[in-house]
């Protein structure tokens, strides 16, 4: 099973936007001796980071990331949270400005399960990748792989690599043939093209 860790080199500097309880940064510190910094707004998750000894800054990504310098981190990671931002397009541009390489993962709204639920049930899709009801979802800007890749193109962001899987990490042949139909989650390695 593919993990974000596999794309990160040893002793690098990692910024995790929406770092949650700091698990990823903690693993990276142990496995790759990275120096990490997390950004989070949830008080409970910040507490978990501090308990792990993970440096964490209380900051709302939607309020801007101007306080981070150009190319100041080897990697900027944004795992499963770009769709929950008010201005995902602004954040995406900022991510590639701050990180030499950026790792972004998104839930794929054009996945076949979503399409079938919408088509046959006529209701907003609820699945393990998108577990929330329409009224309580934090996901304000859901998109498909096609949508995301189009936005990257618009901003001159190069997709260096793409990994497709189900929410549990499983991969399949079908995903390779029809990625936008069969993958549930996509993980992208991005760089800003000059």
């Amino acid at each position: 099973m593919f993990k974000i860790n596999d794309w990160i080199s040893r002793d690098s500097k990692v910024l995790d936007l929406g770092c949650g309880d700091g698990s990823l940064l903690n693993d990276l510190r142990k496995e790759k001796s990275t120096s990490g910094l997390g950004i989070e707004i949830d008080a409970g998750k910040i507490k978990s980071c501090l308990e792990k000894g993970i440096s964490v800054i209380e900051q709302d990504i939607d309020s801007g990331l101007e306080n981070f310098g150009n190319q100041s981190f080897d990697y900027v990671v944004m795992s499963q949270s770009i769709q929950a931002l008010k201005k995902p397009e602004v954040a995406l541009e900022e991510i590639v400005r701050i990180g030499k390489e950026c790792i972004v993962s998104i839930p794929n709204f054009a996945n076949i399960k979503c399409r079938l639920q919408l088509f046959f049930k006529g209701q907003m899709p609820v699945s393990s990748a998108l577990p929330h009801d329409w009224y309580s979802t934090p996901n304000l800007h859901l998109c498909s792989l096609e949508d995301f890749e189009e936005l990257c193109k618009k901003f001159n962001i190069k997709i260096v690599e793409r990994k497709l899987s189900k929410i549990n990490g499983e991969e399949s042949i079908l995903m390779k043939l029809l990625p936008n139909l069969f993958s549930e989650v996509a993980l992208y390695k991005l760089v800003k093209e000059n």
Binding site: L37, K47, C49, L50, E51, G53, S55, N67
Partner: protein, 368 residues
């Protein structure tokens, strides 16, 4: 916590006999610092924490002087057994700064040369002078390196100065409700406080406790330490008497409270010390020597940082703490930052708050 669990503490004194040169160029012919300690120093001497006090604080940060003592130290909410600064784990040192009026050498002390009180002749001391004198206390206590230096407000500025001036002498800095330098508005408030003291005829006649001037300075200070919401919640527009009397006596509860605080403060605090402390605040600007680039100044630091601000603090608002945080990020230092919901304004840093206590506790606990 039960009453029996309270720390019974006793102040001690450290005497430095050599001449001590101040940032201003003046010198003190030796000095004394009064301090208290809480908890036990471990064998490795690796669990010592220095607490720095704010404008009107002193060495008595925690515990009581006897079982009958009803008034615990100023940070007793946070320092003690199983509290944020857990005295079961850490050895905590808290002192009264140079120029203070609670037992350390200050304007109320006798000047050897004139055999009179220093009074207005006590030289101006700066945050850097304090940190240098605290470093002598560290040596006296045989502590190679503080686990942490911590403080709120002006105390937070001292923790920041420690990280810059003695980077190898601390592992963790805790900087609470502070700023990298005062804003224009902050200096303006301090100037009104100073003028209210200096223009009191009792002060000019030599009274170090001018009730009007020092009381007024304290009243002004108090307003800026509270948030509008907390003041409203506490006092509202409640009247002291049954009805309005159309005069200038105390009528509203808030007036009564401020006058009481002012009068009480002026009895116990030295006006010269108040003037000195406000000047130390005004002059604090560690980035000045790097053309205002704080991240350059902080590049020397090697410790980890915890920066905390409170959303209702308008004396040192969250944005000021963020300036410190951003400079630390640019300088590639390890920093965590919390902006805590609390309605008590600047005074929040003195009070209990789960998030705040947990953060300090976890930050101290985590491996370096």
């Amino acid at each position: 916590m039960s009453e029996d669990n309270r720390l019974i503490v006793e102040p001690q004194k450290f005497k430095h006999s050599q001449s001590f040169r101040l940032e201003s160029g003046e010198s003190l012919n030796g000095f004394e610092l009064i301090y208290e300690t809480y908890g036990k120093l471990n064998k490795e001497k690796s669990n010592a924490i220095l607490i720095c006090h704010a404008l009107s604080g002193n060495h008595h940060a925690a515990g009581v002087y006897s079982k009958e003592d009803k008034k615990p130290g100023w940070w007793d909410e946070l320092i003690g057994p199983e509290k944020a600064f857990d005295t079961n784990k850490y050895f905590i040192v808290s002192l009264n700064n140079l120029g203070g009026c609670h037992g350390s050498t200050g304007p109320g002390s006798i000047d050897d040369q004139t055999e009179k009180e220093f009074g207005a002749n006590f030289p101006i001391v700066t945050v850097s002078d304090w940190v240098n004198s605290q470093n002598l206390l560290r040596e006296e206590l045989n502590i190679e390196k503080w686990l942490s230096v911590a403080g709120g407000s002006l105390g937070g500025m001292q923790a920041l100065q420690w990280a810059i001036e003695f980077p190898e002498k601390l592992s963790k800095a805790i900087i609470i409700a502070a700023a990298p330098k005062l804003s224009t508005q902050n200096i303006a408030f301090n100037e009104v406080a100073r003028q209210s003291i200096i223009s009191d005829p009792d002060f000019t006649k030599g009274d170090a406790h001018p009730e009007k001037g020092l009381g007024l300075a304290r009243m002004l200070g108090h307003i800026t330490y509270l948030s509008e919401e907390s003041m409203k919640n506490k006092f509202g527009r409640e009247l002291k008497k049954e009805k309005i009397e159309y005069g200038y006596d105390v009528e509203f509860e808030i007036e009564s409270y401020l006058r009481y605080q002012g009068a009480n403060f002026s009895k116990s605090f030295n006006a010269h010390t108040y003037l000195l402390m406000t000047k130390a605040l005004d002059y604090f600007d560690p980035a000045k020597k790097n053309n205002g680039k704080l991240s350059e100044t902080l590049s020397r630091a090697t410790c980890q940082f915890l920066v905390v601000s409170f959303k209702s603090d308008w004396r040192f608002p969250s944005e000021r703490s963020k300036e410190i945080v951003d400079a630390l990020i640019h300088a590639e230092k390890k920093v965590s930052y919390l902006d805590i919901d609390s309605i008590q304004g600047h005074d929040s840093f003195l009070m209990k708050n789960d998030r705040y206590e947990n953060a300090i506790n976890s930050f101290l606990e985590a491996d370096v």
